[in-house]
Symmetry: C2
Subunit: 343 residues, 2 copies
Amino acid sequence: MRIVLDGMGSDKFPDPEVEGAVIAAREFGDDIILTGDEARLRPLLETHLKSATDAKVEIVHAKDVVEMGDKPAFASRQKSENSMAVGLQWVKDGKADAFVTMGNTGAALTNGLFILKRIRGVKRPALTVLLPTRKGRAVLLDIGANADCKPEYLLQFGIMGSVYARKVLGIENPRVATLSNGEEEGKGNTLVKESAALLKKSKLNYIGNVESKEFFAGEAEVVVTDGFTGNIFLKTSESVASFMSDSIRENIVKSPLTTLGGLLVRPAFAAIRKQMDPTEVGGAPLLGLDGIAIVGHGRSNARAVRSAINVARIAAKEKLLDAIRAELAAQLSEAELAEAGNE
Amino acid sequence: MRIVLDGMGSDKFPDPEVEGAVIAAREFGDDIILTGDEARLRPLLETHLKSATDAKVEIVHAKDVVEMGDKPAFASRQKSENSMAVGLQWVKDGKADAFVTMGNTGAALTNGLFILKRIRGVKRPALTVLLPTRKGRAVLLDIGANADCKPEYLLQFGIMGSVYARKVLGIENPRVATLSNGEEEGKGNTLVKESAALLKKSKLNYIGNVESKEFFAGEAEVVVTDGFTGNIFLKTSESVASFMSDSIRENIVKSPLTTLGGLLVRPAFAAIRKQMDPTEVGGAPLLGLDGIAIVGHGRSNARAVRSAINVARIAAKEKLLDAIRAELAAQLSEAELAEAGNE
């Protein structure tokens, strides 16, 4: 398998990318292609490789870099040879099986739409994550690609998310729910109510609304929401988790006895951290693009880069795109499939 | 001071209400008026009172009860003598200074709008909470009164929330922010972008967008959002906190050493629980109603009922409504003040 990795995406690029690429190439035996400034990437790569045959990591030069402050549209048009665009082009041309970046989500989406285009019938790609629940993991989408959504988008998120749950979590008929401010039917804002009506009529295993509590209880395997709400949900989860960890740490060191206790409970905390850890969860696919594109966290370390590469490999190995194409064809009418392309 | 308390609101009514009323009456020396089914309330009250002068708690009979499954509009119209309506009428008639319920938020809002009406100029009342942050506490609104909002509502939430922060937290010129999916200007969905433009032009101390992380870091004292997003934010915070607590507990009891450690860190956890505990945080005012109305959690125990009563007392003592009236008059034009009444 060949995975192309944006070498210039993370907040601390290119160190996490180069090291992560070497780790992944060694562990998985895949070819990793790093895109970016060759003059920076090459010497760094040399320091990580133990021998000429240690890990199959290539470098493809890309002269432009998407900066954090760049507007996504600017980045994809004016910087057409940015490290994302060069990588995505490799996927488009069939020279790589999947693309991975730790860069700006907006730029990845804009570059992705420009180069890979959408799968036929898809109205909007959705940024999709797997989150831990009490019963395992659940798929949440959209977590940030589309701040404003229409009910038809949420229906499609349900279709694509169900395929993802089947392929990645191995769940044959995943339960699909709308994230809402109440479980009862009729709860929600206008978008949720209208989306619920569409989902109910669909062939999906739609179970209605879930609140955050039911999400974490694992009552659905696929939860759909607009990208604004999904982003707030995800970031609130992360923030509360670290707010609590910090508070626990501060309260523990306040007395000698609790400090001792803190040392003893350390293994328990390590287990939880691993479960909640974004570096273990890996990257988020932009489902709906006509090519596998995975976005990892900007704060990723090498380990998190390796996890994002693993998400890409699994998606490619499971032929995720073919499955999404088949499912859209099965659930949408020919008119709906043709219509999306004109939006 | 006289506080009227819905005796039939909580999930386990009327026990928490009756006990909470007695605790509050004793602690604060206020008169508490319990509304509801006198035949149920009276004997329960007798069991809690140690003497005839122990605590000043009266009972006012209300023949109807708002059930959990009742539609709010039905509850307020068909059950016009429900325990909420009777209590709100006491506030309306000037016989009590504030109203408190642990019941359904939707029914409290509908009953409140019907009986108390809105403060002149207010388009929509907002359910408002104080949440803990790293720097103290912050006001968040709306957390559930209005699932769909317009930019003008968020501007008004900013005005009312600023008054609340000044009166309750003692912050003279609170920083106001919009909850968004990114801090940078221009981030957000359409509602956030349009609200930001209005807030920027206002006399409020508007600092722009905050994400969940900045919320908990205490970067703003007032954070405005639509009731759907605010509700998701609040419930996600609660869910993650209890998800983490449960995970910590389960991981701690897995080995004898971590179990011992768990016993030693117990005081540290108690401190955090107290900080995060909804029974300590108390009730949420429906800001914008022309009368003080506080909604507590359905799962409240007596201690939480007492906290909600305390929120009501402080609002009344601080003359919150007069301050909101004055601030709306200072920040809105005469046309805007007159217009809201016609909506």
